[in-house]
């Protein structure tokens, strides 16, 4: 009961968080004049005369609170507005681009966390030995390389040089035809999962082939985060008295590491993992662009560049919710990992 109350309380916190974020966005929008915003609807000289009509139509010259009122009254009716950057309702756009991001996340997060924690522990155990240097060097180098550069290099090698090995996009043409055919049921629009559910190994393999490079890029870039946190946390734990005590008692090193040190060292890594999930949900803009893997990141940045206000607001609502929920899950995980931590 106590846990349920805690969860409800945390979820209620969503409302002020979202309202606050939306107000900030509305405030930021005031830096753009109505003309600047209206001009984005105008494509050719034939349409230049329509600037004033556009300003009026979209209430761009109204005070900020009036614009906010128009927007919030529509949201309360379930209408998040029209995303002009992708020419569809915002709610549809969220649903359309979410599966691609989720698919990236499903593979990247476990891989990054698993490798990051493993390398962090290895590095800590072999502190200042060649294994430690190489591990840290590789991780920091991966973190230092710009995502678009690393992505392009991987694409040039594994798609350009080894022609067609790991192509960009989400699916190849043949798999696309299968997925869009009437006989294929798209349950989640996550192709690997739908492929399994439809028993279409060809779709699964093709989707995996397209996932290799973006997942590799994201893993390399995010690995250092977890690895470094895990290493320092592990080093700190290994210096604790109870570890010394465990060793003094004659426990073998494997038991000391796995049973006593690792679990206690995990808490900071879990926090970073929560951050990783939330940031990947917001989308990996550069990776998605380079690999033509259109997800929420690509959509949100494209919308922001085009001052597609309803899309930006819809995205902010979504990502605010994700961050609050992710933080909640992380807090719940703390209690699970370390029973001494009490939620309240």
């Amino acid at each position: 009961m106590e846990l349920r109350a805690y969860i409800v309380r945390r979820l209620l916190l969503l409302i002020p968080v979202l309202v606050g974020v939306i107000l900030i966005i509305f405030a930021l929008l005031q830096f753009f004049s109505p003309v600047q915003r209206a001009a984005l609807y105008v494509r050719s000289p034939q349409q230049f005369r329509n600037l004033d009509q556009i300003i009026e139509k979209y209430h761009l010259n109204e005070p900020v609170y009036v614009q906010f009122f128009y927007w919030i009254s529509e949201v309360l009716k379930g209408n998040l507005g029209w995303s002009k950057s992708v020419n569809m309702p915002v709610s549809d756009a969220l649903l359309r681009f979410l599966p691609a991001t989720l698919e990236l996340l499903i593979f990247t997060v476990p891989l990054t966390i698993f490798i990051g924690i493993k390398l962090g522990i290895t590095s800590a155990i072999h502190r200042d030995k060649p294994v430690d240097h190489v591990t840290r060097g590789l991780a920091i180098a991966g973190y230092s390389l710009p995502a678009f550069w690393l992505g392009l290099m991987l694409l040039m090698i594994f798609y350009g040089f080894f022609t067609g090995l790991f192509p960009p996009g989400r699916l190849g043409l043949d798999a696309e035809m299968v997925v869009s055919s009437a006989s294929f049921q798209n349950y989640t629009y996550i192709h690997t999962i739908d492929g399994i559910l439809n028993l279409r190994l060809d779709v699964v393999l093709d989707a995996l082939r397209h996932l290799v490079l973006p997942v590799t890029t994201l893993t390399i870039i995010n690995l250092a985060f977890i690895m470094r946190i895990m290493r320092s946390s592990m080093l700190e734990t290994l210096n604790k008295d109870y570890i010394m005590m465990a060793r003094a008692k004659g426990l073998d090193e494997k038991t000391v590491i796995n049973k006593h040190a690792r679990r206690n060292a995990l808490i900071p890594a879990v926090t970073v993992s929560g951050y990783l999930v939330a940031s990947l949900m917001a989308g990996a803009v550069l990776t998605e662009t380079v690999f033509n893997y259109k997800g929420l990141g690509w959509w949100s940045v494209n919308a922001a560049v085009q001052l597609d206000v309803p899309a930006v607001l819809g995205f902010v609502l979504f990502i605010g919710t994700v961050i609050v929920i992710t933080n909640l899950i992380v807090d719940l995980l703390y209690a699970k990992i370390d029973p001494r931590i009490r939620l309240g």
């Binding site: 003309v35 105008v42 050719s44 034939q46 756009a93 694409l155 350009g160 192509p167 960009p168 690509w298």
Partner: protein
């Protein structure tokens, strides 16, 4: 920090540095192999040339499917709403019009959903040019199986005029059929109803005035024929007078997401931001297309597009102008160059600048500004025209792949006078005209003004810098500042006549000189109105040109207008870009018509195949 820790950090740092260096070298090696840019020369002719160095050894990928990788996607699928080239490209593959352009010609037509192209000779066009009769083809079916009827044709045009969205393309129907110049002028349903009538198997258009480009307007996406019954099922206008106003200027177009045409391809799906897939209409009345699918993929990143093209996963790609040399001489790639486009950029002089403009300095001819009527003096306009280095501009901005037009009646349009004189860089003449301007005061007192360009628009910045450099070299009292503002501000200032001069482009709506001389020269035209340019003779000639149906007389009128344009110099055209088309050499059947939408990319996929 102890020594051990310091040594550890140093070792790690060495590893990081080594990795980064290796990565950079690898990147550099991978980047090598791209051809270095070669010296360019400005073409004097615009005959397209095709190069295909060596045939590919790669097997044809996806032989039934044409994949076009491009940078953006359509705004809508509704023909009455669409006014962007990407939308038109999709619409013209799925819907059909009564007539279409004949292959590469912009002034010849072939019948599509009409059985013949009406002419005065065959009685399809009345002698006074006010009535056009089209016999509608029988046996044609929409993709949903409905039969095409003359009522569908009537509905299609009336629906477009009812919808008539702000800033949309429907003004092109309203002008000839109703006689109103702007889409927002008052309009009654009676006017719409009377304009298009069904007479048996015929559809008859009643024009408000003779309008020679009318056939060209009917051959484009906004004149697509839709299925009345199906449209009503989609919640569109039911075809009745009572409710027509409810369907005017809607928030979103009724046919935004759906298509049901009679064309050779059907819409399979539109995955917003990702791709649009068209599949063959096997029941097409003209016989099925050779291609089974056409896929238009949105791939904004150039390197990704290029790699897809080289790997054969894209058959046609858009290539950004700065990268045009990268695919030259590459095995398996066919490049067609020097394709004339019906687009022109020009430098417009504002003759009655708003006195409150912040770009005219003191607002007086005192050496610290310019008076609002600075450009009203023709000597100033001529001096500016002779101060621009047209060749350098075409070389620097277009890598030589553009031509300098003499007037808004650009190459590719009927009645263009090939012998029309152009302006060229001549600083001696520029000096002479500056000395004559304002009775010699301009030369004596000097001037100071600002030329604005929209942030990020390099061609406009370069043009402004060329003017600045050349004009300031003439007299130390001449000062020009070049400033950048965002696109919205640039637009607003231009429309409010606050810019001293502005550079902007015009893309043809239909291939007729009227579509160019009207905005460039008529006192109510888009550009000339903002400039404050007015010449009653010009206005009269423009109205004569659009209502004259005798081609010989039209030629005379437009030749005269071109000469007046040169003499009056209300603006100076600076470029007409030449396009390029890149395709894998296994693609066949591509033809180029300058009026077809978009970059020279798809044109007509019905004619294309792979093999």
């Amino acid at each position: 920090m102890n020594i051990r820790e310091k040594t550890g950090i140093a070792t790690s740092a060495v590893i990081v540095i080594v990795i980064v260096i290796v990565a950079v070298i690898a990147g550099a090696v991978l980047m090598l192999g791209q051809p270095t840019p070669t010296t360019t020369t400005t073409p004097t002719t615009t005959s397209p040339t095709t190069t295909s160095p060596t045939t590919t050894t790669q097997p044809v990928k996806n032989p039934d499917t044409l994949i076009y990788a491009t940078i953006g996607e359509q705004e809508t699928l509704d023909p009455a709403w669409a006014y962007d080239t990407a939308s038109s490209e999709v619409i013209m593959s799925v819907y059909e019009t009564l007539i279409s352009f004949d292959g590469t010609h912009t002034d010849k037509f072939v019948p599509k959903l009409a059985t013949e192209v009406p002419t005065v000779a065959n009685g399809g066009i009345s002698a006074d040019g006010l009535t056009y009769r089209f016999k509608i083809r029988s046996g044609v079916k929409f993709h949903n199986g409905d039969d095409l009827t003359p009522e569908d044709v009537e509905y299609s045009f009336e629906r477009a005029m009812v919808q008539n969205r702000d800033g949309g393309p429907v003004w092109m129907l309203l002008e000839p059929l109703i006689g109103i110049e702007a889409a927002y002028e008052p309009l009654t349903f009676e006017q719409i109803d009377k304009a298009v009538e069904v007479e048996g198997d015929y559809v008859v258009f009643h024009l408000a005035q003779p309008y020679p480009p009318f056939l060209a307007i009917l051959a484009q996406s906004w004149s697509s024929i839709v299925d009345k019954e199906w449209c009503i099922e989609q919640g569109d206008w039911p075809g009745t007078a009572e409710t027509w106003e409810n369907y005017r200027n809607p928030e979103t177009p009724p046919l935004q997401e759906v298509m049901n045409g009679t064309g050779p391809f059907k819409l399979d799906r539109w995955e917003h931001g990702v791709q649009t897939v068209l599949t063959r209409n096997d029941q097409y009345w003209g016989g099925p297309a050779k291609l089974k699918n056409v896929v238009i993929q949105v791939v904004p990143e150039w390197t990704t597009r290029k790699l897809m093209f080289l790997a054969g996963d894209a058959d046609i790609v858009d290539v950004p102008r700065p990268n045009i040399k990268e695919l030259e001489g590459v095995e398996g790639i066919r490049v067609t160059k020097d394709l004339p486009t019906l687009a022109v950029d020009a430098m417009f002089f504002t003759m009655n600048i708003d006195p409150n403009s912040e770009w005219i300095g003191s607002g007086q001819l005192d050496g610290n500004g310019i008076p609002p009527d600075f450009f009203a003096d023709k000597n100033v306009r001529l001096a500016f025209a002779y101060s621009f280095d047209y060749e350098a501009f075409l070389r620097d901005v277009y890598q030589g792949e553009a031509i300098q037009p003499a007037s808004p009646v650009i190459e590719g349009l009927s009645y263009q006078n090939p012998a029309q004189e152009k302006y060229h860089l001549d600083l001696a003449k520029a000096e002479q005209y500056f000395k004559a301007a304002f009775g010699g005061q301009v030369w004596e007192k000097g001037f100071k003004m600002t030329i604005l360009y929209n942030t990020g628009n390099e061609p406009r910045r370069i043009a402004a810098e060329i003017l600045k450099k050349n004009i300031e070299s003439l007299n130390p009292k001449f000062s020009i500042e070049v400033a950048a503002r965002d696109w919205g501000t640039y637009l607003k200032e231009m429309v409010a006549s606050k810019l001293t001069l502005y550079i902007i482009g015009w893309l043809a709506d239909y291939p007729d000189p009227h579509n160019f001389v009207q905005p460039f020269m008529h006192s109510a035209g888009a550009f000339s109105a903002w400039q404050g340019y007015s010449n009653p003779t010009v206005d009269d000639l423009i109205m004569q040109g659009i209502s004259e149906i005798d081609p010989a007389k039209r030629q005379q009128i437009y030749y005269q207008l071109q000469q007046i344009y040169h003499d009056d110099v209300p603006s100076v055209p600076i470029d007409q870009a030449l396009g390029r088309h890149y395709e894998r050499d296994w693609v066949h059947g591509w033809i180029y018509n300058p009026i077809w939408p978009g970059e020279p990319a798809l044109c007509d996929p019905y004619l294309m195949w792979k093999g």
